[in-house]
């Protein structure tokens, strides 16, 4: 049991000894009431999304599929939500009378199961009632292919000229085995034409047979899947009730994180595979396997686009310049704004705030003109104009600045005034106070800003993509995007490797400095929260 059990026991009743087990009837009524409330709420929400919002959005010409999806999800959420409701309600009983709790839970869950079965039958699973598609034949697996065992008399298959004993080798041009054939028939909608490649007496010919609804075994597959799902939910509910561990938050968090986990897993798997089908590494023929290190050849290769290290160096240069400049700039400005009195302070402060939310990315057009003019400056123009690393870094710095000043101001605001007064009395001027006394105090802030700036500079795409030409000063994200371009075949696996390579410094920072990263926004909002 973890340390802060008292605070982390979201579902448990807090004082087991004082719980008086409520009468059975009362508990069941409570369960029923809770179930009803949950159902009504979810159904109402589904109604709002599906029947009200959706047409409303349609009327104003906005895509409505999200609301459709939501309403569908809400309906789908009803059975699990009911299980949970039962669980929540019966849980109070758990600590006092575990055995009784289990009985109540199972009883109630069974009731709910029955109810939702009816509900589901009335709702979107309607297609199950249509019946399974069938080719009106039965098959058996043989070495040479799928052998036709029997054909319904007068069926389309018979009319197409198929006979018992014919061997089906492929649908269209894909060779097929029994299991694949059956699942294809099951999955394709009714009336789908199946182009069968058939062998008879060493001759090959093709026939087309359309699938029709079969009278037997209607919709059993879909229903049994649903039933299996419910059984799983039932077991989860029961286990959740009895296992003295707060499993629910973990489950919910895990589920919400799933897409991310899958995505990053793919990234890693892909870098070591010839190709991937979903998360599985496959070779060029599409069968499992094909693990390879060749995707990492880019590390040593010098292609037409140059070596990846050039891009890495550019990325690094942008990130480092940006980090260094932002640290100095933001801490100086924030120090003045936080701790100094001067005319125009109010103006500056309000300006910082407005800049904080200013839509700077929409200003790329005029910023291009500014860069052109900067580039025309004598001497320094060569380093900070359009199509220079300095120019790109400068724009990045400017864009990152409002947030940085804001963040650092929050940190400065929290420094003790006595400390600074003391330094002044000890004989320091403001600059020394800032440099020797205050800056060392806000090291966490500097770390946070530094890491964040580095990550930002390392990952930046839009600005280098817009303000650089050719590949001379392009950075890794621009390089990667360019490999994903439409004029080139996309080698996903090599790009995944480059992507992972690009992520390595970030991941290292992530592992060693995540607390600072997690602090980033809280530091910034401290000044005003």
């Amino acid at each position: 049991m973890n340390v802060d059990e008292t605070l982390s026991a979201p579902l448990a009743d807090l004082s087991p000894t004082t719980v008086v087990p409520p009468p059975w009837l009362k508990m069941l009524i409570q369960i029923a009431r809770n179930c009803l409330v949950v159902t009504v709420i979810l159904a109402l929400l589904a109604l709002v999304f599906g029947s009200i919002l959706r047409p409303a959005l349609e009327a104003v010409n906005v895509n409505e599929e999200l609301t459709a999806l939501l309403s569908w999800l809400l309906i789908a959420a009803i059975p699990p939500a009911l299980y949970l409701t039962v669980g929540f309600t019966a849980r109070t009983l758990r600590n006092a009378h575990p055995a009784r709790a289990l009985v109540v839970a199972l009883l109630a869950a069974t009731l709910v199961y029955g109810a939702t079965l009816l509900w589901n039958a009335a709702f979107p699973a309607a297609q199950a009632a249509q019946g399974q598609p069938s080719l009106e034949m039965t098959f058996a697996q043989a070495d040479s292919g799928v052998v036709i065992e029997s054909i319904v008399a007068g069926s389309a298959a018979e009319q197409a000229g198929l006979r018992v004993g014919d061997v089906i080798t492929a649908i269209r041009r894909e060779s097929i085995d029994l299991a694949a054939l059956q699942s294809r028939i099951e999955e394709e909608p009714l009336g789908t034409p199946f182009r069968l490649r058939v062998q008879r007496d060493g001759e090959e010919f093709q026939v087309t047979v359309n699938s029709i609804a079969s009278a037997t075994g209607a919709g059993n597959a879909a229903l049994s899947r649903a039933a299996a799902g419910r059984a799983v939910a039932l077991v989860v509910t029961a286990v959740g009730l009895l296992v003295p561990f707060n499993w629910l938050p973990y489950l919910l968090l895990g589920v919400t994180l799933l897409p991310l986990l899958l995505g990053y897993t793919w990234l890693i798997v892909a870098t070591f595979s010839q190709e991937t089908h979903g998360l599985l590494p496959v070779d060029s023929t599409g069968s499992l396997g094909g693990l390879t290190l060749s995707n990492w050849d880019f590390l040593t290769e010098v292609s037409r686009r140059g070596s990846v290290w050039t891009y890495t160096l550019n990325s690094f240069a942008i990130a480092v310049i940006m980090t260094a400049a932002l640290l100095v700039l933001c801490s100086m400005a924030a120090y003045a704004l936080s701790r100094m009195e001067f005319r125009g302070r109010r103006l500056f402060l309000s300006f910082t705030l407005i800049l904080h939310g200013f839509p700077a990315v929409t200003l790329l057009i005029p910023i291009y003109l500014v860069l052109l003019n900067l580039g025309a400056l004598p001497i320094i123009g060569e380093y900070i104009g359009f199509n220079t690393l300095g120019g790109i870094a400068l724009v990045e710095i400017a864009f990152g600045m409002p947030f940085g000043v804001w963040l650092m101001k929050g940190f400065f605001d929290n420094i003790s005034w006595d400390m600074e007064r003391s330094a002044l009395i000890d004989g320091a001027n403001r600059w020394r106070t800032f440099w020797e006394i205050i800056l060392p105090q806000i090291r966490p802030g500097l770390f946070a800003l530094g890491i964040f700036s580095f990550v930002g500079g390392w990952n930046t795409y839009l600005i280098p993509a817009t303000f650089s030409t050719g590949t001379r000063i392009a950075n890794l994200p621009v390089y990667i995007q360019q490999l994903l371009g439409e004029t080139n075949p996309i080698n996903w696996n090599e790009i995944a490797a480059i992507g992972l390579f690009q992520m390595i410094p970030i991941l290292i920072l992530f592992v060693f400095a995540q607390e600072y990263l997690l602090n980033i926004y809280s530091g910034g909002s401290k000044g005003s929260s």
């Binding site: 006595d418 007064r421 009395i425």
Partner: protein, 359 residues
């Protein structure tokens, strides 16, 4: 170095923090600023330190007007309530910092820091970081740092309020002794009257930005000039009762709706000359149990203070606190008779809230 403050004013926006303050602090004197929190005493101190700019008036160090002099050029030392040690520097670096800023050579820094640290009894802690020190040790470091540059004026901003009671007592004595030994003009801000009374040569009592009194501790205690001083100085606080005084023969009758008290004393005579309503003050230690006392009331709270009990007696709708020996074993609900030491009575004019004895 003597410090003179004339007509000092400070306002933040429309809020007046310090109003027409006049003070003279003699060279080598130990002056305490006493008052409830937020009364302007710290603001005054920070003006002396040069952290705040006075809105009006003059601050003089010796003959030099320092109003616009930077803090670093005032040659002052200051000890803060929060100690304000630099957490990223060792004790040595902390103490040496003022010297470093002055450009003192490394060798001399070492000597002077060691000396200062030895004086404060932290000579063996120099390599530590402030975070590794106890509160008392940190306070000593802060003091060492303030002293190391041999300041002309030493400023204390409630330096002991973060320490526990025992330590506070020790430090109190040490600071007092040190100040006497070094003879540095010192200004000490506190809201704790015991500290002020025990340490200071003179105490400036401030209230709502105004100077209420500026006197030696004894005078403040025995001859409070205002009702505020009387009720603020002294613990437990002085009893204040509304009263009318009338001469009746050679006795003075002090009476109100609930009590009638004939007394014979010079102070009472003086009060009797003032007709009408008065406020009478009497310290709890001057109220005694007496079988034939003129006052009679019901005890409703007994607070044991160890050596003595403090009892709260209700007389009519008035309350009177008294210090009595524990042996009497007085319980709440007892009816007691009380007498008052007539020579220690104080009298105030209810309108002006000033003493009618000491003006």
């Amino acid at each position: 170095m003597k410090v003179d403050i004339e007509q000092l004013n400070k306002s933040f926006g429309t809020v007046v923090a310090v109003h027409d303050l006049n003070l003279d602090i003699r060279a080598g004197e130990f002056v305490a600023f006493l008052g409830p929190s937020g009364c302007g005493k710290t603001t005054t101190l920070l003006m002396i330190a040069g952290i705040y700019k006075p809105t009006g008036g003059v601050i003089r160090f010796g003959e030099r007007v320092v109003n616009t002099v930077q803090p670093r050029d005032r040659n002052i030392g200051m000890v803060f309530q929060s100690y304000a040690l630099y957490p990223h520097m060792s004790v040595f670096e902390n103490i040496a910092y003022p010297l470093k800023l002055k450009g003192v050579s490394k060798d001399e820094q070492r000597v002077r820091v060691q000396r200062s640290a030895d004086v404060m009894g932290i000579g063996d802690l120099l390599h530590r970081r402030p975070g590794q020190l106890s509160g008392g040790q940190q306070q000593r470091v802060a003091l060492g740092r303030a002293l190391v540059k041999e300041p002309d004026v030493l400023l204390f901003d409630e330096p002991l309020s973060n320490l526990d009671a025992r330590l506070r007592l020790t430090m109190r004595g040490e600071i007092k002794a040190l100040q006497k030994r070094l003879g540095i003009t010192s200004i000490y801000v506190t809201h704790d009257q015991v500290e002020a009374l025990t340490m200071a040569d003179r105490i400036a009592v401030m209230n709502e930005g105004l100077l209420e009194a500026y006197d030696t501790p004894d005078d403040l205690y025995d001859h409070p000039k205002t009702l505020f001083i009387a009720s603020f100085v002294g613990n437990p606080p002085m009893n204040i009762l509304p009263i009318q005084a009338a001469l009746e023969g050679d006795a003075v009758i002090l009476q109100n709706d609930a009590l009638r008290l004939p007394v014979r004393s010079e102070r009472a005579l003086k009060a009797a000359q003032q007709h009408g309503d008065l406020l009478m003050g009497v310290r709890p230690e001057d109220v005694t149990l007496s079988a034939d006392g003129a006052l009679c009331g019901e005890v409703f709270v007994v607070e044991p203070l160890g050596r003595e009990d403090m009892i709260d007696v209700r007389i009519g709708q008035h309350r009177l606190a008294a210090l009595v020996t524990t042996e009497k074993r007085i319980r709440a609900g007892n009816r007691v008779r009380l007498d008052i030491n007539a020579d220690k009575l104080q009298f105030f004019d209810p309108a002006s809230k000033r003493s009618i004895l000491w003006t």
